[in-house]
Symmetry: C3
Subunit: 138 residues, 3 copies
């Protein structure tokens, strides 16, 4: 039974900046020779999230605009306590969730052809964002 | 250690069409004689999602109406690029997420009595939708 | 390979009442001597959810206010069928999701320093809420 980790750092711009993690996932699963099991992707930190999306230019504009509509960049109680002005980033991250688990079959994540695992960085400034991949299985 | 998969196809109507997956989950766990472990349910594709809900007629109307309110069926950047007009489907799916993991104890998913795992198809047309169940454990 | 469970009961007030689960997670992982693997936290029931947040007073007000804005406490179809008036609770729970999986490395959940796993109780009354922790790995 494999029980493996891989960690990467991605330079992000914030404000719902999206990053396709597919190539990193392929590299990880290939390196550990994964066959069947469960992949979990997590972003440590409370101002980013993980989901899947068809990673194309239209949706890369639509998703940030949706976030701005649902959880606008405005003053929240968090911002009255802390000076960093990123209350909206925290709320967006809590709503989306920090991790995603995807079964792996025949060495390939069980996903659609036009469905990519993405990191969404909701913070209000550039970050060096750590993403951790975990695999358990054969 | 078991490491098992089951795959089904469900005919869906789209527009936040909800399908109770409970009987499929029971069948899967029973067939593989699952005792304790982790069940993951995933829908491959970027216009559907998995969550839990009390699967009753009221909420089956409420949840689609909520989606229509939060992410209305309107023109998105995705729709300007691609002719399929389902930008809203993609956004709803990314917000809800494509997978759900549920611990299994004594052969039963750790869920409430009135809590069902559901597939929600957000697309704008009927589909034959693949759903994959993965189990790892004893 | 460990395959362990822990169950606790938390007294909740409802209306997006948030509870930090960090100390319970530390206790669980320490008791079973967890090293590397996958932790899954789930709340059985269809009116509560699990996510992560920076658990500080500002966001503990912001997140409930966000839920009230996105999914207001009003009359839903669910409430016309059932007399319990908690349609909004169900919808909030389905949107957030009932479970969260977090990889564990060197005995510690892969999370940020200011990122806590929280139970959010969306119901409209006090509850004795069961939370289940599952761990699989070394």
């Amino acid at each position: 039974m494999k029980n493996e980790f891989m960690e990467i750092t991605i330079s992000t711009q914030g404000f719902s900046d999206m990053h396709d993690l597919s190539s990193h996932i392929r590299e990880f699963l290939s390196r550990i020779n994964a066959k069947s099991g469960l992949l979990t992707v997590i972003v440590p930190g409370s101002t980013a999230g993980i989901t899947t999306i068809e990673f194309e230019p239209g949706l890369r504009r639509d998703f940030p605009e949706l976030m701005e509509k649902l959880i606008p960049r405005q003053r929240y109680h968090h911002d009255s306590t802390w000076g960093d002005g990123n209350g909206f980033s925290h709320l967006r991250a809590s709503l989306l969730g920090p991790s995603l688990s995807v079964p792996v079959k025949n060495g390939t994540p069980v996903l659609g052809t036009w469905q990519q695992v993405v990191l969404v960085d909701f913070d209000n400034r550039p970050r060096a964002r750590r993403v951790v991949f975990h695999y358990m299985g054969e």
